[in-house]
Amino acid sequence: MKKRKMTLKNKIIEETGGGILKCFNCGICAGSCPTARVSNHNPRKIIRKILLNREVNDDVWLCANCFMCSARCPNGVDIPKIIDYLKVKAMQKRGNHNVIFNKSFLRSVEMFGRLYEAGFLAEFKMRDVSIRAVKGAINDISLVPHFLLKGKIGFFPHKVKNPDEIKKIFKKVREVEKIKL
């Protein structure tokens, strides 16, 4: 039997079901997408490129996971699931600030069982040294007095009683899913 070539398209069909094949390129997803209005993100184009076996060089991190596209798609294409597939794939490589963001967040959960906000934000802002990030950080500094005054941020981690159980879950997920995390 001839083996199917493992193109991105075939891989996505295998992992997320064949729903993507039903896309008829109507653009309702793009018209419904909030971030498409304010950036160059375009879910229709991402789906199209996958179907045509073109390289998908889009910034998938601009998807906010709002599920409007899939709710309105006349063919029920699960676009957010397909984009999540691309995000998980992108997480396997060294990456941009979104990859750093996710890693910093999950590091905190793996260590403490819960999100340690002050620690996670500090790690994220320190490891992300792009110009965009520096501008963002300077902008956000204006919010710090508010957080301090209103006592809104936890400066100390809350740790679960049995953090080893959580570390074990992370370890098992890495093994079973064969991913870096």
């Binding site: 709002c66 997920v173 995390l181």
Partner: protein, 294 residues
């Protein structure tokens, strides 16, 4: 008699959005309902979880649900929309996909128990249950004067519709019904279930600022005095970042953003401090005094 409902506060409600946690707890206390917190609960993984792994978020959710079952919890109140969504997704996946179930059972080292599936409930639905809604109506202490609100639900309370179990995903009405019971007028608007940018607020702030500018502008143009929300991320983006949005787009909004639990708490006579309304970025006290809620 039904036993006490379970309660999963999650990281936001015990951290930067603690006023949502506090107001939820105070409101339920005022309604005479004891919430049973899941012991030693763990984070749901939020957006970074499902962007990094297909199995981790479900595994974390099932870990919490398994602990809840040990405590005899049948109904779980989950106020944070992100956590609420992750729990619903986990139940949806594990009950429909045998492949995923097998992997999750391997990760957690225990069988998933279908028999006693926990009912994951958001306060918006729970407070609308007839017995509770009647209790709210009977206990109203303060009637606001000519107060207009828009209700902002955000994304995941209704979407994906098949996972969240709703049919009308663009026009939910739970908050309208609650505010109506509280004597607060609600106005129709365009952004009920449109996205605020969610977690992009931290990683790609400009996008969130632009999306929220549209939401705030529409609320203002519809003549709303305040925006009522039920999600910590929506609150951060609309309240905490409101000053940044005003500066970026050279506009003035100064529109208070309150959690539904705070608004209902107020009409039931709870104090601004108890409800954590003094923790917000946009000061609500002038409006609340004017409308006789304070």
């Amino acid at each position: 008699m039904e036993n006490n409902p379970g309660y999963y506060p999650g990281c936001s409600l015990t951290g930067s959005s603690r006023e949502y946690g506090k107001s939820t707890e105070k409101l339920y206390e005022a309604l005479g309902i004891t919430l049973q917190e899941i012991e030693d609960w763990v984070c749901c993984g939020a957006t970074p979880g499902h962007s990094s792994s297909h199995l981790l978020p479900d595994a974390l959710a099932l870990k919490n649900l398994s602990q809840a079952k040990k405590q005899g919890i049948e109904k779980l109140i989950t106020p944070c929309m992100a956590c609420y969504s992750r729990f619903k997704f986990a139940q949806y996946n594990v009950s429909r996909d045998p492949g995923i179930r097998e992997k999750l059972e391997e990760i957690l080292g225990e069988k998933y128990d279908d028999e006693n599936e926990i009912d994951i409930v958001h306060p918006l639905d729970n407070l609308n249950e007839l017995v509770i809604l009647n209790k709210i109506k009977k206990n109203i202490k303060k009637i606001p004067e000519d107060l207009k609100a828009v209700c902002y639900y955000g994304c995941v309370f209704t979407r994906p519709p098949e996972v969240m179990g709703v049919s009308d995903y663009e026009n939910p009405c739970q908050m309208e019904r609650l505010l109506d019971a509280a004597g607060i007028e609600t106005v129709e608007w365009n952004y009920k279930t449109k996205c605020c940018g969610a977690a992009l607020s931290i990683s790609d702030t400009e996008i969130a600022l632009d999306l929220c500018k549209e939401i705030l502008s529409d609320a203002k143009s519809r003549g709303a005095d305040m925006i009522v929300v039920a999600c910590p991320l929506c609150h951060v983006n609309l309240d905490l970042r409101q000053g940044q949005i005003e500066r970026k787009h050279n506009l003035k909004f100064k529109i208070p953003v309150l959690y539904i639990t705070q608004v209902i708490g107020l009409v039931l006579g709870l104090s601004v401090e108890d409800l954590g309304i003094d923790k917000h970025f946009v000061d609500a006290s002038k409006l609340l005094k004017e409308k006789r809620l304070m």
